[in-house]
Amino acid sequence: MYLNRVHRTFPKLKKIITRPQSQAALAEQNEYTETPEYPPILDMSLKARKLRERETLYQKIKEINTVEEKQIALNMPRYYGWKCVMFNETRNPYNTMPLVQYYTRSHFIPVDKLPDYYNDTEEAAKLVVQEIKALVEEAIVIENEGIDRDFPVTNESSIESQKTNALAQSIVKQINRIITNNLTDKLDHILSSQVDIEPRHEAFWFVGGVDPPLEVVRWRKQYPWLKDTYDDPIDRPVQYIGTPMLTLRGKLPLKPIIPYSEAENPEFKVPQFTHTPKTVGYFETHRHGTNIPGYWPGDYDEFGLVSYHGRGHIRGESFGDQDNLEALHCQAMKASFGWLLAQANYQGFTTYNDLTYPLVTQTVVTNGQLWSLYAYQLNTIEMHNDKFDSNPKNNVCFGTKPFKLYDTIENGKVQGLNEEVLKMLVKFYLNTPEERDHDMKPYLGKEEQVVADIEDDNRRSWLEARYKHLVANRPKHFLLPEVYLWEKIYKIRFNTRFFEAKRRPFEKNVNPFNRRLDDHLPPYIPKVLRQYPRSKKKFETTYYPKV
């Protein structure tokens, strides 16, 4: 009996009263070594401490097992979503190329024909073109003249551009059908590939090395210890959203166009673009970052082959021919990078954990008559603020100018079909994916790679529901926090209501937009539903990744 069990009732007593035993039992061990062992000397400056904090976050995200949890982890710091630069596929303001190149870290190489990588399939492509030529001509004529197209018009873009895209989409569907039909019995990867029509392509990443906005500089200026960091660049979350007309994807990845070691080639240069994206015409909205390559995690056909995009947004002559051409290049770079980044995310890489091998995709931008072809190799996805200047890798994009597939349609006949263009297109299909001899998913678990692999029923279904809800980006049930204008005038700018109780977040010096994703009450369990016989657990368990 120890103190007649009083110490259980008054736990603090235990500290005051000395132990009855004379000495604690200690295992025999020698704590002395030949040479002194010191703990590592850490830089304790503010910058270094913050960097270590961020590095632990990157490490934690890397160690998470499943794709979905990694995606939730990326969004953990923001309950209301990141303030993302919206990178729409079709939004290409004037002179946007430097920004797009820097944000996607793409070196652009203009070419007149496809790179040498495609030369092996020259003969096969010629044969296929001879077989499908007549069919393609017929399809073009029917789609252009034989069909009275009626499609729902939305207010999102001009009617003219929607008409162009609708026509292009039907032609693309036909040509894709003709080429795949011809190749299915010749090539395995075409037979087993999946065709997606208007899939959902979204990608999310961080770009560092961008000038801080005025508000951030103003915020920094109020703290004397931030004196050296007033103009330090900040991270910008970027969200790409695009809808291709049609994509093809398969089980295996395409071969790299250039060897992976070439990725660090200093000839592939991407100049830094430090101006805020607003100055070019890209604006920001609050949303959760999403990475969706047109299918959900766990799909077996997870590598892209070709994607087709419309060019209805190219506006006649307004910014001139040169800028229209650049707009096409930008669209292709954004679309290719966005799709590949989303695919890379499904392989377990994120914007914080760089790719360990290259990925390749092929992109076509067309309106049915004009076709421009792009081949894109993704070498790196790590360009956030800690890595933007130390990461030597760049992505590479080969792109052609728009070619005319045919000149005109006269009397129900296609005039001047350009077989070269058709051949290049066929070469994209003939480009056979190959199995890689390295681990494709080094940062995913061995047993659990997607949420569906998790055995615990509660955890699996909770994560599945949370992930789908997160990437749906539906509006919140409650209105977003807001500082009303009258408050800004009479409470923040001028202290005219000093006698009122201070209850609003800005009066308590809290930024509600810094709330974390898991900073909410979980669903309440009503008493009747609690576990028998007696359970004090009032709220359901949440399974947010611990980052």
Partner: protein, 149 residues
């Protein structure tokens, strides 16, 4: 363009009044930092993007590629004396995009501050002598400066 009528007869003087146009544009130093081919203006709040484009193209022969506008809130301040809060007018900012091979740099109108060392010296001297004068006379307030030995 002016919404005012051409001088109709008014009693009194002056008989000839000058009517300024409603449309005006003022070039300002850009904030935040803009691309070299972007120029920031403040303009009449009634001007639309088309007006701005025409104004620059037709009057000044400036090739305008794109116009972006933004109406920013006027500043609030406390009325001196009365103590209530008043607000300045809103400002329409126009960001004019020139062709990308063109450059515009906002001129440094007032020169560098470091350049005027002589002027600063003179100002310091003047300040010093004024302070001397105040110190000398601090014990005899309300006495005019000429009333001295």
């Amino acid at each position: 363009m002016s919404t005012r009528w051409y001088p109709i007869y008014q009693r009194g003087n002056p008989q000839l009044r000058v009517f300024l146009p409603n449309f005006w544009m003022k070039i300002v130093r850009p904030a935040p930092k803009q691309l070299p081919n972007v120029v920031q203006f403040q303009c009449s709040i009634e001007m639309t993007k088309h007006d701005i484009k025409n104004y620059l193209e037709k009057i000044y022969n400036i090739p305008v590629v794109d116009v972006r506008t933004k109406i920013s809130l006027g500043k609030f301040k406390r009325d001196v004396g009365k103590g209530y809060i008043v607000k300045d007018d809103d400002i329409k900012n126009a960001f004019i995009v020139l062709p990308k091979d063109m450059k515009f740099e906002y001129p440094n109108i007032f020169g560098d501050k470091d350049g005027d060392e002589d002027q600063e010296k003179a100002l310091d001297e003047a300040k010093k002598s004024f302070k001397n004068y105040i110190d000398r006379n601090k014990h005899r307030p309300d006495v005019p400066s000429w009333f001295t030995i």
